[in-house]
């Protein structure tokens, strides 16, 4: 099972993020997704995660994500990722700064029927805000 999920994660990153093919996003996340990592400003679940994904691609149109590590056990998959991009669009209320950012995160997904139905994630949001100049370093 793990190999199937690893491939799904690779597709999400390569096609969904790096090639901006949102069908890869829809393939990865279930419509019944429970997402524990969304900000209060977006809807819950799949809709919110989709909005967050679209917002990130709009804010950093040249974003490239790298899968640094991926492993799993049973129905759970762990992905450690890094991302780079240039802040060219509005992001969470911050107007474009033109700055280049580099961040990292770790996500955990629980799969049912080949899709993520539960998503946990922590990423370097403070680092992101510092690089954009919103928070002092």
């Amino acid at each position: 099972m793990s190999e199937q999920y690893k491939t799904a994660a690779q597709d999400l990153i390569e096609k969904g993020f790096n090639q901006k093919d949102s069908s890869a996003f829809e393939a990865y996340f279930s419509a019944s997704l429970k997402d524990y990592a969304l900000p209060p400003s977006v809807p819950e679940g799949f809709e919110g995660r989709k909005m967050f994904y679209s917002a990130m691609l709009a804010a950093f149109p040249d974003m490239q994500v790298r899968l640094e590590d991926v492993f799993g056990d049973g129905d759970k998959l762990v992905t450690r990722w890094s991302a780079r991009g240039t802040h060219q669009g509005d992001m969470m209320g911050v107007p474009p700064t033109g700055k280049q950012i580099s961040i990292s995160g770790i996500a955990i997904d629980r799969f049912e029927n080949g899709q993520s139905v539960e998503h946990w994630e922590v990423f370097d949001q403070v680092g992101l805000m510092q690089q954009l100049g919103v928070i002092p370093s």
Binding site: S2, D69, F71, G72, D73, K76, V78, R80, S104, G105, I106, I108, W120, E121, V122, F123, D124, Q125, V126, M129, I135
Partner: protein, 135 residues
């Protein structure tokens, strides 16, 4: 192998929970590297110093393990730090506020010890809970 490595990971988290940094250190390889605690990579001494400072700032810290996922030489631990901000933390004077901070750490286990670790912690959430950053 997964079960052995899960046990090592759980032992490390339990030692943190008990504030026993010597016990943590005993599970850490001498040339271990820690990514994500500080802007720079920390070695075993640096990690111990960082955790010591954190425990000074939040002396009643609890480390709560929510999930452990092991595969090969890697173990991920989804966890929470709960504590009260009772002393200066990275330049932020004591606020007396309680925080609950989500984190995911990945350990790479080699020869029964932590050889590498990567951490992502919700520091933004912590800052919001401390009142330093608007929520």
């Amino acid at each position: 192998m997964n079960e052995i490595n899960k046990t090592i990971a759980r032992k490390t988290m339990e030692a943190l929970h008990q504030h026993d940094l010597d016990a943590v250190r005993a599970n850490v390889a001498p040339d271990a590297r820690f990514y994500g605690w500080a802007p720079e990579v920390l070695d075993a001494d640096g990690h111990k110093a960082f955790m010591s400072a954190l425990l000074s700032s939040f002396p009643d810290s609890s480390f709560i393990v929510d999930d452990v996922i092991a595969d090969g030489d890697k173990v991920a631990v989804r966890h929470r730090l709960r504590g009260t901000h009772q002393a200066d933390f990275q330049g932020i004077p004591a606020t007396g506020r309680q925080v609950e901070v989500n984190g995911i750490v990945i350990f790479r286990i080699e020869n029964g010890m932590v050889a590498e670790a990567w951490l992502n912690a919700d520091i933004m959430g912590m800052m919001q809970q401390l009142g330093v950053v608007p929520a």
